[in-house]
């Protein structure tokens, strides 16, 4: 399993999760966990996904998610989970 974290931040609106999920489904990326909250009127979501069967490379998926974010007006970032594990776990 190759776990990665997707974070989505932006002004709340209809269909943010739908857009992202649709993209992930097409890219053959499996969602393992979703947590989401509204913070000061801002939509804040974190997804843990499995990239091991993804159709495209990590770096391409990164770019495409960024484009999708620009399209729907939110900020989307994809990062390998190791950066968080290393920083927050001994």
């Amino acid at each position: 399993m190759e776990k990665a974290i997707i974070t989505v931040v932006g002004r709340d609106q209809v269909g943010i999760i739908a857009h992202v999920c649709q993209f992930l489904s097409k890219a053959n990326i499996n969602i393992l966990d979703i947590s989401q909250t509204i913070l000061d009127g801002y939509f804040n979501m974190m997804m843990i996904v499995d990239m091991s069967l993804a159709k495209e490379s990590f770096s391409d998926v990164c770019d495409q998610l960024e484009d999708l974010g620009n399209h729907i007006g939110v900020y989307i970032k994809l990062q390998h989970e190791d950066i968080f594990n290393k920083m927050h776990r001994i």
Partner: protein, 454 residues
């Protein structure tokens, strides 16, 4: 499992507090390039560097993308050229030829800087090393990305005062030759005491002879993150303050360790060390000075500054050592003036002087760094400043360095603009009294008593 809070904390560090990995530096040994013909030597050097470091920049960019963290610089350090050119260089021009080859290599592989135009002369100079030192002004003028350093002393050997005297003259000459660009040549040259073999930071990086054929060293950064953490400790006692800085340094270093391991695997080059240095940039908030003022000082330079810096430096090391098994290089807080907006502000407000900076270097990782002084300062006065700083390093068994820029044609009250990561600096006044007779003595300051440990 990782939670939203932790993810947000990490990304806030990256996006709002300027957390980055400052540099991935490949150290490359050039010992196997040595030849009796200068042109063959240069060809060997070009071939070796461009093949070993061919994928460095691309690898760095892939890692940036994978973890979503900027890696600001990709650099190369090489074996001190004073050794590599020893058998073949008959003149300063021969050495400059090697410098130009290094410059071409750096441009070919797309790195930001290449370090190692260096000589280790802490006890004495070979004729070749003397030639290399004499070639530094011309080399700094004719190249763009080459950095140079000279180690003139160590705790084990004492201080080579002949070299210190010569370096004073070399700095002046470098300033003259690059005066059209505000003497920027001097920003690419640093003089050391106790220089480490595995430093990934410029201008002082070189690949020591104790190192393997090639090695990956990584320099982390993050003064903005540390400052933000100190902010949360407002009014708390020193115990709690230290705990917070230490924990933050741990987190920063773990990211560096991750990047270093990843780069090492991707390039198939062994991992050397993580350098824990907190390195500021001119970006607002990415400042060591701000960390110190956040502890409760009105300005850097106020009484208490040296103690505050000592705390910062020590806690960064304690947190960092826990996060990585191999720590080396300079590892501490850098206190450059021109590269740190808080430092610049302190100088302009009259809070920070050259003398206070010298005191601060006793407890931080390097020394007098990126300090602009009047162009009229004499070579011997510059040698005197270097001698003081080297003495601090020698006696305290630590690395100290001087990177000072006598800006030709400018005086106290004026500013100098270097651009980019080098920032800008107000010209600082220098003590006007002479040390000429002291510098003219020549010879060597003996090693201190506590160096005899055998």
């Amino acid at each position: 499992m990782i939670n939203l809070f932790e993810v947000n904390e990490t990304n806030k560090m990256i996006e709002q507090e300027n957390l980055d990995v400052r540099t991935i530096t490949i150290g490359i040994s050039l010992l196997d390039c040595i030849d009796a013909n200068i042109d063959t030597l240069c060809q060997n050097i070009y071939h070796k560097i461009t093949s070993v470091a061919e994928h460095l920049v691309e690898t760095g960019e892939n890692i940036e993308k994978k973890y979503g963290i900027p890696i600001v610089n990709k650099r190369i350090s090489v074996t001190p050229i004073g050794l590599i050119g020893a058998s073949v260089c008959q003149s300063t021009d021969d050495f400059v030829k090697i410098a130009k080859t290094l410059d071409r290599c750096a441009k070919k592989v797309g790195v930001n800087f290449i370090g190692g135009y260096s000589a280790i002369v802490s006890k004495g100079m070979t004729p070749a090393e003397k030639l290399l030192i004499q070639s530094i002004p011309q080399a700094m003028k004719e190249t763009e990305l080459v950095c140079s350093s000279v180690n003139v002393g160590s705790t084990k050997t004492g201080i080579n005062m002949d070299a210190v005297k010569l370096i004073g003259e070399i700095i002046k000459e470098t300033a003259e030759l690059t005066k059209k660009q505000d003497s920027i040549g001097c920003a690419k040259f640093v003089v050391f005491c106790n220089a480490p073999d595995d430093n990934p930071f410029m201008a002082g990086a070189f690949h020591g002879v104790s190192e393997a054929d090639a090695i990956i060293n990584v320099g982390v950064s993050g003064p903005g993150v540390v400052r933000k953490a100190i902010q949360t400790a407002k009014g708390k006692d020193f115990g709690e303050l230290c705990e917070i800085v230490k924990k933050t340094a741990f987190k920063i270093t773990r990211v560096g360790q991750l990047v270093a391991r990843e780069a090492s695997a991707a390039l198939n080059i062994p991992f050397g060390i993580i350098d824990l240095s907190l390195a500021p940039t001119p970006a607002v908030g990415d400042s060591i000075a701000d960390c110190l003022t956040e502890m409760g000082l009105e300005r850097v330079g106020a009484p208490g500054t040296t103690a505050a810096l000592a705390i910062l430096n020590d806690q960064v090391k304690k947190g960092g050592v826990m996060a990585s098994s191999y720590v080396g290089g300079l590892s501490g807080a850098f206190i450059p003036v021109s590269e740190d907006q808080g430092m610049i502000d302190a100088v302009e407000a009259g809070a920070l002087t050259l003398e206070k900076l010298e005191a601060m270097t006793c407890v931080c990782s390097v020394g007098l760094d990126m300090i602009a002084i009047p162009g009229k300062t004499s070579a011997k006065t510059i040698s005197g400043i270097i001698a003081d700083e080297m003495a601090i390093g020698m006696i305290n068994q630590k690395t100290t360095a001087v990177r000072i820029i006598p800006v030709i044609g400018k005086d106290v009250g004026e500013k100098v603009e270097f651009g980019g990561l080098l920032g800008y600096a107000p010209i600082m006044p220098v003590n006007p009294f002479s040390c000429d007779e002291f510098i003219d003595r020549g010879g060597r300051i003996p090693a201190p008593i506590h160096s005899f440990k055998n």
